[in-house]
Amino acid sequence: MLLVTCPVCHASGDETDFHFGGQAHVARPATSNPEGISDEQQREYLFTRINPKGLHFERVRCDRGCGKWFHAARDTMTMEFKAFYGITELPPDHVIKQAKGAWAEYFTMRMKKQK
């Protein structure tokens, strides 16, 4: 049993009160310019997912509570939740620092974009 805390309504509950929504931070490439998107980019968006051993970032819905989507940082090996954060937000800095591999690359790219 995993205990999840919703960052929107702050309700703690069993994982069955929540709904898992797949990998977090998957950006749709065709939002602004559908014609300029290659098949490879669309394929990446639809099917390619990160499957790390260790820290992972996922979407979760407060399904039986306030009904809002949010993000969770979870360790896939220990099942420990490192952080819960808003759907429009990036994880807390100390969690980003722990990210490895594909996630580390992703957050470095996001940080550059923000600057």
Partner: protein
């Protein structure tokens, strides 16, 4: 033309004698689904003007005045409880007051069935169906929460120390009733709340 007529989903169910809590359906309550943004001042003012009191902003709380009660469902959603015959006119009042704001008010009186569970074991019976700890200090009268109860979506409010109102979607009413009959069968008491 035929007038729409309310028929309870639990009309054929009598008050059970086999359970250690009392169970009955509340059919006289009307419900209005109200949605809007708390950041929208116009909406909050309009809601207050219609209700006479503020919408509850804190999660899992409720506010009431007179025979109208408002349950917090989500940061942008409330369930307004009033007398069943009053619901259509109150929904229309909301619709008129929130005309120029991004908001919604719909009479959903027939959407959910309400089961009132009464007795010393009422919290214990609820605990048999969901993962919440009803001994928690938060669970005081006025507490509202949506939860997965007996594998279905439900909403409950704590009315007083030994009374709980359970709201389930109408199509699940008979299932929920059957579940409660079994969960609260005499002889299956755990005695968790004895003397509390």
């Amino acid at each position: 033309m035929l007038e729409p007529r309310f028929e309870s989903a639990l009309a054929l169910r009598g008050e059970p004698t086999t359970t250690y809590v009392s169970m009955r359906e509340i059919t006289t309550r009307g419900m209005i689904d109200l949605r809007g943004l708390t950041s929208d001042r116009k909406f909050m003012a309009a809601a207050k003007a219609v209700l006479g009191f503020d919408l509850p902003k804190a999660p899992r709380t409720s506010n009431s005045f007179g025979d109208v009660k408002v349950l917090w469902l989500s940061p942008d959603q409330w369930l307004v409880l009033c007398a069943r015959e009053k619901a259509p006119s109150l929904a229309a009042e909301f619709a008129k007051a929130t005309e120029n704001t991004h908001a919604l008010a719909v009479d959903v009186s027939d959407m959910r069935s309400i089961i009132r569970i009464e007795g010393e074991g009422s919290r214990e019976v609820m605990m048999k169906g969901c993962s919440l700890d009803f001994t928690d200090a938060d669970f005081t009268p006025g507490y509202v929460r949506r939860v997965r109860f007996a594998e279905i979506a439900a909403l409950f409010t704590i009315v007083d120390a030994s009374t709980i109102d359970l709201y389930v979607f109408r199509s699940y009413a008979n299932y929920a009733w059957d579940f409660l009959l079994k969960a609260a069968r005499k002889g299956s008491e755990v005695g968790l709340f004895n003397g509390r």
